[in-house]
Amino acid sequence: MARALINVPKTARRGEIVEIRAMIAHPMETGYRMGTNGASIPRDIIRRFACGYDGEEVFSAELFPAMSANPFIAFTLVATASGAITFAWTDDAGETQTVSAEMAVS
């Protein structure tokens, strides 16, 4: 679907709070803009963002058209176990893009 950029520390100590940053290339078309021919440009946005880690969903967000193009979200997680942190973005068409990153916890 689109290019996603995620920033996850490669290593962390158990119990440490790590900062996660995630961004995806997406126009986030609001549906309120007019095209050159005067017709409104249909809405096309990412509706939902979710982050899964260590067996459950640890963070999620419901997005509205007021989010900027290429939505960027930075949040924190407690490092509990080594493994994959998965990121999923779902758009208006119901398509989901998933990306994951490994973090080693010592």
């Binding site: 609001t30 963070f59 419901e62 989010m67 930075a74 407690v78």
Partner: protein, 161 residues
């Protein structure tokens, strides 16, 4: 044109009137500015989020640049004061605006595994306005913080009339 009523002389004026009426109705709808269509107010949007519960001031810090050059990407940081333990943590943080075409901006779902109740993102602001962040704690209380920004280049300029 197999339908005999269509070629009948009497039915023609009626159809023309109907077409005219339909056309006029269409014109009225089109000429309404988008901003005149119902948009829940800031207070209504927050009420929908809280389910009518009382919203107290404090425990939330909303960082928003006071002077925004480009309303298409405004960096915001929301931080809530919470120990973020299993017993006492932030469940949701909602961000609302006063004058965009839609009152909602984003709703974050957090939990005790977040470690810290701090989220950063980038939003759109259609004009100079107030932005409100509301945090829902695990004990069911709601806390809020508001900040206003002056926007020099607006997002979605077409909506400003």
């Amino acid at each position: 044109m197999g339908d005999p009523s269509r070629s009948h002389g009497l039915s023609l004026p009626v159809r023309r009137r109907q077409v005219l009426a339909a056309g006029l109705a269409g014109l009225v709808v089109v000429s309404l500015p988008r901003s005149a269509l119902a948009r829940p107010s800031l207070e209504e949007a927050i009420k929908t989020f809280t389910g009518g519960a009382e919203v107290l001031d404090g425990r939330v810090r909303l960082e928003l640049p006071p002077l925004v050059e480009n309303g298409n990407a405004v960096g915001v940081t929301i931080a809530a004061e919470s120990p973020m333990t299993a017993a006492d943590h932030v469940i949701r943080i909602g961000l609302f605006n006063e004058k965009n075409p839609e009152a909602n901006v984003v709703i974050f779902h957090l939990g005790s595994r977040s470690g810290r109740a701090k989220v950063s993102t980038r939003i759109r602001l259609a004009t100079s306005q107030v932005v409100v962040a509301v945090a829902e704690m695990s004990d069911g209380s709601f806390w809020s913080s508001r900040a206003s920004a002056i926007v020099t280049l607006a997002a979605c300029i077409e909506d400003l009339s």
